[in-house]
Each structure stands twice: as structure tokens, then as C-alpha cells.
Amino acid sequence: MKDFVQQNKAMGCSRTCRFETLGMGKTAEQLLVHSEASLHAMIENAGMTIYSLDHDFRYTHFNSNLKESLKKVYNIEVKIGDVVFDFLSTDNPTESDEWRSLYSRALAGEMLEFVKEFTAEGYHSFIKFYINPIKERDEITGLACVAIDITKERLAEMEVKKIADDLLKRNHHLEQYAYIIAHNLRSPIANLLGIANLLEMPGASPADKEEAKTHILGAVQRLDLVIRDLNDILQAQEEINQHRESVRFESMVSEITASIQSAIENSGAVITTDFLGCPGMVTVKPFVHSMFYNLICNSIKYSKPGTRPTIRISSKSSEGRVLLTFEDDGLGLDLEAYGDKVFGLYKRFHPQVAEGKGIGLFMVKTHVEALGGEIRIDSKVGYGTTITIKL
């Protein structure tokens, strides 16, 4: 009984009671004391933060969880009668105002349920709050508040989501391989089978057999090419345990233009660059090299016949990310007709251009995504193409 009175004070119970004698030998006081003690034990042992506020946002009750968390996160000693958000008003007035508005909404009758994030001692936590009005005869007299630490659950949820996203991505890659194997890898093998069938065919003329033989080399070369493509794709999709190094965009462009010098000279291509906004980055160099190489080659390959292709490459930083833009004045693509297919494997869009095997933009996209980036294309037939890459 003595303990209870002390605890009762600690909890700031200020309720006045009238005592009446009830039946069964117990007084109303005894029953009330018993009930309050049970309630107190429940509040203390619920494993969550529980507190209540009056109309003026002052604490009327709180359990030791609240006391400890406020001590830990904000280093304050909370007392009954304190205004709940007062300690925030000097250091963090925005947060203080936010809490005032939340509690005011609950005092107006709303039942609130929300999650807040806190950081203390380098530890990030997610706390779920339930704030409900306390009603006495239809009149709101205060607020009952419960806060539960859901950090573990939230982190587990995020982990599960990451795993699910990863699996989806891998599944998509597997579908791509299945497609490549069924169509592109099997096609030259079917070539060879067809050639062998013809060579065995009793009715086939010697001339036919001779012709069939001449196709063997072509079929085997194509088989080799598909296996090399498949290998490139698999390597590009490997997770980023790849070596990262500092890459300067300007020197990357010089390197590439030197390696395709004859193509540039033959086409008369003019490449202008502006990397002042972001001269370089730390990244997986071969991936970024592939983006620059494929996009520059595409702009030259698919330029308007009889014109000198102009290619403008620029970079800038935006919200901690690198934005690369490749702009040309070439043939352009009908995006309304082709849509997402422009990034498809072994897809081609310029029948009038003999070159090209339909892997360039696919590889660019694969490399961008392997680095966690995004790619977008804007194009208009006869005007040119702009590729924007966000890394």
C-alpha cells in the first residue's frame, strides 16, 4: 500500500476519489487501490512507452520507458506537469510545432497512428505512435499516448524488400538469358544442323552441297559472337564487387575518340564536351567507358547521311548524383512506335544503316543499371537523340 502510494505519486495520479462501503467486505477504496495497482503494473510492464497528457499538453502520467527514452535521445529529465514538446522549442522549433499540431488534432477528437524516425548515439530507430483522446462523458479531457519501437520489424521489412527487389532483378536477367539461349544461341546451331542435313540429303545436288559447306564458317562465327555477347552481358550484370576508380570524363572521351579515329575522320564528326559541372567521378571504369563508347559510336553510325554529325556531351552534379547528357543531331528514333524496345537486345531501328547488331543501347542500359543508375532517351525522327544518364 505504501509502495503504491509512492508509485502513484511518481505517476502523478491526481485523481480524487469518494470512498463508499461496498458489499463482500471490501471498501471502494480498497477496490480502487487494487485496480490502480494492477493498471500501473500493466503500464510499467507493457514493454512500450505509455503516457497521458492533459488539455494543455502537460504530462499527467508516464511510465519509466518514456523517462528513459527521453533521457537517452534528448538527455532531459522529464517530470509530471512538463509540457510535452517544451524541451524541443529552442533547439528544434519545427519539430515542436509538428508535435503541437499532432496533439491538437487528437484533442479535437482524431485518433492518430503514425511512425516517426529518431537518431540517437548513431542509432536510427522507428517508433510507432498511437495518440487517442481520453473521453469522460463525451468530453475530451486529455490524451492517451502509446509509443512502440518497431525498428527491428522495420529493418527486417526493408531487408525483405531489398531481397525481393534483388530476386526480381535476377529473375528478369534469367528470363533474358533463357530468351537469348532459345533464340540467339540456338539459331547458329540450327544453321549447322541444317547444313549437316543437306550434306546427308540423298537428293541434294553437288552444287547445293558445296554451297551448304560455304555457310559453315558463317554459322560458327555467329555462334562465337553470341557466346561472346552473352559473356559480356553476364559480366555487366555482375554485382558491384568490381574495382572502383576515379574517372575523368574528358580523358575518357579522348581515349575513345583516339580508338575510333578513322570512324570520326570518315564521318567528319564534331564532338564538343562540357564537363565543368562535374569533371569526373569514382566508379567502375569499364562500365562508364562502355556507355561513352556505345553512345558516341551510335551517334556517328546513325547520323544523317551527307552531314557532319555533331555530338555534345556534358555532365553536372545534381542532388549528390552525376547527370550525363549525350546529344546528337542524327537520324533520331520514333519512340512512340518503338517505346522501350529501343533498349532491347538484338533490336535494330535503322534498316538503311548496314552496321549495327542491336546490342549497343542494351549494353548501355545494363551498365547504367548495374551501377544503380537510370537512363532516359528523348528523340525525334530527323532531329536527333538525347540520352540522359543519372548515376
Partner: protein, 129 residues
């Protein structure tokens, strides 16, 4: 006036398959005419133009699926826009290297496709058409 001479139309971007299929067809079917298009678009142009004056009453179209500019599926979409006189004269078969069930199932859904042949085009496959 109709002609008894059968006509085979091959639509495939792969020159080796076209060469092998043509030779196989000519070896199996007597007095046959084979026309080859490496691009589905020129195949459609042929059906829209020259084909009207073509007299053969036995016309088979062998269509590849996986092609870089226009896929076989896209060709079939365009095919459904042709006049019914053209459509009714042609028996369309898919001739693909793909051994995927999903491609064969999709072929079964197409109104125009009579069958699915797996490359290379074999004598038995050809006889069964």
C-alpha cells in the same frame, strides 16, 4: 487463271537459314517457287503489291520470330491488316530456332498461324505442311 506451281515465301533475317531452307524446299517439292525476304517490311510490301498478280493457289509463308527490325509477332499484327483475299490465300507457319514452350504457346494463340516449326527446316517438317 490459277497456277499449280506452289509458292513458298520465306521471311527471315538470317541468310544462312534462308539458303538452307530454299535448298531443302527445292529438293523436296518439285517445280516450286521460293521468294526470300530478309526484312519483314519488304515481305509485307510484296504481299500488298506483286502478290495480287501472282497466280499460285498453294502459298506457304514461313516466318521467323526473332528479327532485329520487325519481329515475327509484329509482322503478324501487320498481316491482320491485309485484305482477306490475301490472307485467305496464304498458309502461315512459324519457322523459329526457339525451343521455348512460351513461343509455341503464343503461336497457337495467333489466328493466322497454322503451325510452329523448329529450325532447321527438315524434310519431314516440310512434307507435313
Amino acid at each position: 487463271m490459277t497456277s499449280e506451281r506452289p509458292l513458298f515465301i520465306l521471311i527471315d533475317d538470317d541468310p544462312i537459314h534462308n539458303a538452307i531452307s530454299s535448298m531443302t524446299i527445292k529438293n523436296v517439292i518439285a517445280n516450286v517457287e521460293v521468294v526470300v525476304f530478309s526484312d519483314p517490311k519488304s515481305g509485307l510490301d510484296f504481299l500488298n503489291e506483286e502478290f495480287a498478280s501472282h497466280e499460285s493457289d498453294s502459298v506457304v509463308l514461313l516466318l521467323n520470330l526473332n528479327m532485329p527490325f520487325m519481329s515475327g509477332w509484329e509482322f503478324l499484327e501487320q498481316f491482320s491488316g491485309l485484305s482477306s483475299e490475301i490472307q485467305e490465300r496464304i498458309r502461315v507457319y512459324l519457322l523459329s530456332a526457339s525451343i521455348r514452350q512460351s513461343d509455341q504457346a503464343k503461336a497457337g494463340d495467333s489466328k493466322w498461324v497454322r503451325g510452329y516449326l523448329i529450325k532447321p527446316l527438315s524434310v519431314e517438317g516440310l512434307m507435313a505442311l
